[in-house]
């Protein structure tokens, strides 16, 4: 048997980083990822604001697993595998709602919103060994939360979520700091769309600012038409209108950290928001300064950041705040879900501005995301030649110190691939 090619070639001394394209097309890799990546990492499930009241539930697919994300009658946020313990049917078939019980349509078993098995029709026909108390809905091995972001992990031995997040928690804090009370909420309206490309391409795309001038030329034109200066700062060695960094946050997490030029609802005015918005955005900024101090307020209001929590949660704090997650259904296919996030106490006008700003860039009808989808699908099509052209080139910026890595370099992408490789090479 010949030795298989490595997934990555990582040779900093020679300035070489190459990705084996097989990892983007292979059924075997797809199968292994389910266990070694998604089975061992903390995976985003939902936000506390999506289940505000006892009995509220959301049924969703998390990394390929149907789960119920809900709040019990006692008020606790819970997560259960959406699978009947009897024969395996899903017990919650609505996307959202409020329920005291989840009923299996097949034989009528029913579970409380705390997971316990509440109803077994004709229970007296079971033998004495039937252990009803042990037949509550299964929960993922671990279920923990950071600042209202709830994650599950299928690996009992995984580190605590807070330790897993590590330095990435700081970047979540920067997003949540938009809210005076420290409470953000998911806004109603969900964007769910499929992309015919490998899921890891979406990870790269979410933080790779190198693609912006080419892939998003029409968005830059739109911004320019609206009065934003989008000329690249070529004299500073930048392909983009402002300087941005690429930050390795450890454990496979990473973020861009960019000087803002494109406007932020919290809180950098651009002409798109209209003259009337100036005063309110100035007020929002003043509140940030009073609460957080000048320096941190400048971080919150004057930078935009695309954060990836390994492996498949993206929080973009740019033209608006998006939570985006995605999972593969095949090597060349993924399902994407995106939400908008905003401070709970936001005024109606600020909320409307946030949502409008979202649509200038993000989502299936935005002025940018459809071109990302097209780019990823073109990559996937081109990868059909992987056996004859087996390597992707990923050395951009290699050799520079970490604190000089730009958002248009590939330092943060390499961070992802190294972590992914470590997990996949572990048996």
């Amino acid at each position: 048997m010949t030795e298989r090619r490595p997934y990555i070639v990582d040779d900093p001394a020679r300035g070489v980083f190459r990705l084996n394209r097989e990892v983007l097309v292979s059924d075997e890799v797809f199968r292994l990822e389910s266990e070694r990546v998604f089975g061992r990492s903390w995976i985003y499930v939902g936000h506390a604001s999506e289940v505000p009241n006892p009995g509220d539930f959301r049924a969703r697919i998390v990394a390929g697993r149907p789960v119920i994300f809900c709040r019990s009658d006692a008020g606790d946020i819970r997560c259960f595998l959406n699978t009947c313990r009897h024969r395996g049917a899903t017990v919650c078939r609505e996307a959202s709602g409020n329920a005291r019980r989840f009923h299996c349509l097949y034989h009528g078993w029913a579970y409380g919103n705390d997971g316990h098995l509440a109803v077994v029709p004709g229970e007296n026909a079971y033998p004495e060994s039937f252990a009803r108390g042990e037949l509550g809905l299964r929960a993922p091995a671990r279920f923990e939360c950071y600042r209202d972001f709830w994650f599950m992990c299928l690996d009992e031995t995984a580190p605590a979520l807070i330790d897993y997040l590590g330095e990435a928690a700081f970047y979540i804090d920067l997003v949540v700091d938009q809210s005076p009370s420290g409470r953000m909420q998911v806004i109603q309206g969900t964007q769910e769309y499929d992309v015919r490309a490998n899921w890891k391409l979406m990870v790269e795309n979410s933080v790779d600012d190198y693609h912006l001038p080419s892939t998003h030329a029409t968005w830059l034109t739109y911004m320019a038409n609206s009065g934003v200066d989008v000329r690249p700062k070529l004299d500073q060695g930048l392909v983009l209108p402002a300087r941005g960094g690429a930050i390795d946050l450890g454990n496979g997490h990473f973020s861009t950290d960019n000087v803002n030029y494109r406007g932020r609802p919290v809180a950098s005015w651009i002409p798109l928001y209209g003259e009337l918005a100036k005063a309110e955005i100035a007020d929002i900024k003043s509140e940030l300064v009073a609460r957080l101090g000048e320096e941190r307020a400048a971080r919150v209001a004057g930078t935009n950041r695309n954060l990836v929590i390994f492996p498949n949660l993206v929080i973009n704090d740019g033209s608006s705040v998006t939570i985006r997650t995605f999972y593969p259904t095949a090597p060349d296919r993924m399902q994407v879900t995106a939400w908008a996030l905003g401070p709970v106490e936001e005024s109606a006008s600020a909320r409307a501005r946030r949502l409008d700003s979202f649509l200038t860039f993000y989502g299936p009808g935005g002025f940018a995301t459809p071109d990302d989808v097209e780019a990823l699908e073109m990559v996937q099509q081109g990868l059909s030649n992987w056996t004859d052209d087996p390597w992707s080139e990923m050395s951009r910026g290699m050799g520079k110190p970490a604190n000089e890595q730009l958002n248009s370099d590939e330092h943060h992408l390499r961070t992802f691939w190294r972590r992914w490789n470590t997990l996949m090479e572990a048996s």
């Binding site: 996307a95 959202s96 806004i187 109603q188 309206g189 969900t190 964007q191 769910e192 769309y193 499929d194 992309v195 015919r196 892939t215 030329a217 029409t218 968005w219 034109t221 739109y222 038409n225 609206s226 399902q335 939400w339 908008a340 109606a348 909320r351 409307a352 949502l355 409008d356 979202f358 649509l359 989502g363 299936p364 009808g365 002025f367 995301t369 459809p370 071109d371 989808v373 097209e374 780019a375 073109m378 099509q381």
Partner: protein, 175 residues
């Protein structure tokens, strides 16, 4: 390819009643302009304060002020959207998708002075190379304005019937 050279959808004077047939002709004209990517002509069917909205599939009755939409364009955003999709750097629509729309179940829901509230159903087939086809199915809600020069669109709401966009992917063209 058929052509429609003049806007003849509503030849009536302001004071004569608009019929369903008038509305149907108008909607068929619009569908033809969109399918043929004659977007400058299409924009001439819009009022200066026209809006174009596609709500998220799970929030069809929301408002774009408090709900995340797929598209919530005012007139200026529509103008910019058309500029974008006509640009060869709009990769999602270059080369242009081929689309073919069927408009059915047209009815006049309400007439309020010059405003005509119209409902219709649609199927929009979209094709892209290589071998990609998409079927957008849903309903249309219009507010049309009856002007001396014919009907114009003030509001255009497109509601998709599917529970999620899913395999439809993007709404990168004028749906």
């Amino acid at each position: 390819m058929s052509t429609v050279s003049t806007r003849t959808a509503a030849p009536h004077a302001m004071d004569s009643a608009i019929t369903r047939e008038d509305v149907e002709s108008f909607l068929y004209l619009e569908a033809e302009l969109l399918d043929e990517w004659r977007l400058d002509e299409w924009q001439r069917l819009l009022t200066d304060d026209a809006i174009y909205r596609v709500p998220s599939n799970d929030c069809l009755d929301g408002s774009p002020e408090d709900s995340l939409f797929i598209i919530a364009d005012d007139r200026e955003r529509i103008r910019q959207r058309v500029l974008r999709v006509q640009n060869a750097s709009c990769h999602a629509e270059w080369p242009h998708s081929r689309t073919q729309r069927t408009i059915t179940n047209v009815r006049i829901a309400k007439v309020d002075g010059p405003l005509i509230h119209v409902a219709a159903n649609f199927v929009c087939h979209r094709f892209r190379r290589p071998r990609r086809s998409y079927q957008y199915v849903g309903s249309l809600r219009y507010v049309l304005v009856h002007t001396p020069s014919g009907l114009l669109i003030r509001e255009r709401h497109v509601r998709l019937a599917s529970h999620e966009l899913g395999e439809l992917g993007s709404v990168s063209f004028i749906l």
